[in-house]
């Protein structure tokens, strides 16, 4: 990697982190698990959103994270917070209480209507058991904006999830309202594109492409047919300084980027 070609070195999953970070406004309260979502939150705090606050579902309120937590109960994530509390404080007193603007989620499947499955997947005659909701259902039920960072594989994007762990737009426009849920805006960031949507639309639309990716490539790797925005953006690449922040400061041991080591990027 050279200083004059900084973005060549940005790995696809690193781009996810930076695009995730851009979803966080200054002053937002953000709930994130470990891995890329937490790194996105930390990037936001160190760049454009110094007043963004991180909430961890285990009960850690507004920590000053030190590298690199592997768990929501890692001592590195409990460092110097506002308070050390409990699950019900984080998920009841903040998330269900409506104080958390943005939630980051993962999941094995995300469907055309942004519903998320992290519980059961049908595979042939059998079923594969996944970890289950954790706080994901709570976050998807109550946060105003949901951000999903994921690799773009066809099996991850079915028309309809086998099981809805965390509600997106459910059956489409108005369905959340009918179920008793507040509206949500969902943004899915993958290594190929950004898809987004809200309750009124009731489905995901391709709104931007990752550098070098094409709509055809996205469609070929998606199990449903998303709409395509009239004006497709291209996801911005990080500056060398921001890339260095992620690599040298936030995850210096590449705990979440084993591919860095293989690629000889660090």
């Amino acid at each position: 990697m050279t200083v004059t070609e900084p973005t060549v070195g940005a790995l696809p999953r690193e781009l996810l982190v930076f695009e995730g970070a851009r979803q966080i406004a200054d002053g937002d309260c953000v709930i994130a698990g470990t891995g890329l979502p937490l790194l996105a939150g930390l990037v936001a705090q160190r760049t454009h959103a110094p007043s963004a606050r991180l909430l961890i579902e285990s009960g850690v309120i507004f920590p000053k994270v030190v590298p690199t937590p592997l768990s929501v109960v890692d001592p590195r994530i409990m460092h110097a917070p506002s308070k050390l509390g409990s699950l019900i404080e984080s998920l009841g007193g903040f998330v269900q209480r409506g104080l958390v603007a943005t939630g980051f989620l993962g999941g094995a499947q995300i469907d055309a209507r942004a519903n998320i499955n992290s519980t059961w997947i049908e595979r042939g005659t059998g079923r594969v058991r996944l970890p289950g909701s954790g706080g994901a259902n709570d976050i998807a039920s109550h946060c105003a904006t949901i951000v999903v960072l994921t690799s773009h594989e066809k099996r991850r994007f079915p028309e309809r999830c086998d099981y809805i762990t965390s509600p997106g737009f459910l059956d489409g426009p108005g369905a959340r309202r009918r179920a008793g849920l507040n509206p949500v805006r969902v943004k899915v960031v993958t290594d190929l594109c950004v898809m987004e949507g809200d309750d009124a639309e009731g489905e995901l639309t391709i709104s931007a492409l990752m550098p070098g990716a094409t709509v055809e490539e996205v469609l070929a790797n998606t199990g449903f047919t998303p709409r395509v925005a009239d004006h497709l953006g291209v996801v911005a690449v990080p500056s060398p300084e921001h890339l260095a922040l992620l690599r040298d400061v936030l995850d210096p041991d590449s705990r979440y980027f084993p591919e860095r080591l293989k690629n000889g990027n660090t």
Partner: protein
């Protein structure tokens, strides 16, 4: 008497200090609803779960929010018939392989909740209520199953008419937790997050707490604000330094990755692996101290993890 409300604990506030073997023998019965403390790789009640495996107490229904290493040990040992949980995994260290296989093979029944709804069930139990309302779960497949099994009900908020979910109180027969310290009366101090444990403990008929250190009765008299859980809810206090090993105890020691990885590697391929692991690490030893001595001779790993924790505070 309302659903989920136990009879009086008798006698109240009479915790006794005893060994893990005696505590498990006294309070964990076959067929019990067993609450597990800890979360992921932090403060899991490993010493107490080792003892349940050693005493081979089966037909358990295991409940918790995040269930992790201790559940997988119990499943691998063939002691679990049902789980009720918000999640079963070890985050970066992978899924719970034994649990997953058993669930996929229908060898154990599983009831899914979100973390908040599971924590709310413990809160209901802790408050002597038959149920708690939650505004999560609406529209999800989780709710669909819970309603079908009559474990949850969707009702209308009498004031706004909006849908609200009612989830049943969860009241374990016995819960196992590991904490930083307790006094001889069972007053417990937990450093770091408390996950779902405070309400789960208060909802339980009996509670066994293992601690890094037992202090004399009255040790917290001058700082009762630091007590996380009153001894009123505790049946047995077990002094077991490193009792959460290889998971962490905040302010005491970090989790020990290679031991967690070792179990996960053993558990990944099939049921034989974790059984062999438990035979070597648990049932081969008379108690948890013997396990620690055998797997970490000279305590070099423990010393390193204690130093690592100090560097993180």
């Amino acid at each position: 008497m309302a659903v989920g409300v136990h009879q009086l604990l008798n006698p109240l506030g009479q915790a006794r200090v005893m060994s893990a073997a005696e505590a498990v023998q006294s309070f964990v019965e076959p067929g019990a609803v067993l609450g597990l403390g800890g979360q992921n790789i932090n403060r899991c009640p490993m010493a107490l779960v080792h003892e349940v495996v050693r005493q081979d107490i089966g037909e358990l229904t295991v409940v918790g929010c995040n269930l992790s290493l201790p559940l997988d040990h119990l499943v691998a040992a063939g002691l679990v018939v049902r789980t009720e949980q918000g999640s079963g995994n070890l985050e970066k260290f992978g899924t719970l392989f034994s649990w997953r296989r058993a669930v996929e093979a229908n060898r154990i029944e599983v009831r899914d909740y979100s973390h908040l709804s599971m924590a709310s069930r413990f809160l209901a139990g802790a408050m002597g209520l038959p149920f708690m309302p939650v505004r999560s779960l609406l529209g999800s497949s989780i709710l669909e199953r819970l309603v079908a099994e009559e474990d949850a009900v969707v009702t209308a908020d009498p004031w706004s008419g909006e849908p609200v979910v009612l989830v049943r109180a969860c009241t374990p027969d016995v819960s196992l937790i590991h904490a930083n310290a307790a006094d001889a009366d069972g007053n417990v101090v937990i450093d770091g997050v408390t996950s779902h444990e405070v309400d789960m403990v208060r909802a339980s008929r009996h509670v066994i707490v293992s601690v890094e250190e037992v202090l004399p009765a009255g040790a917290f008299d001058d700082q009762p604000e630091r007590v996380t859980i009153s001894g009123a809810y505790i049946s047995a206090v077990v002094e077991q330094p490193w009792g959460a090993w290889p998971t962490s105890v905040y302010r005491r020691y970090d989790y020990y990755e290679s031991e967690i990885d070792g179990y996960q590697k053993s558990a990944k391929a099939g049921d034989e692996g974790p059984r062999a692991f438990l035979a070597e690490h648990v049932t081969a030893h008379a108690d948890f101290d013997a396990y620690l001595a055998a797997t970490d001779p000279g305590a070099s790993a423990r010393t390193a993890m204690a130093e690592q924790m100090r560097s993180l505070l």
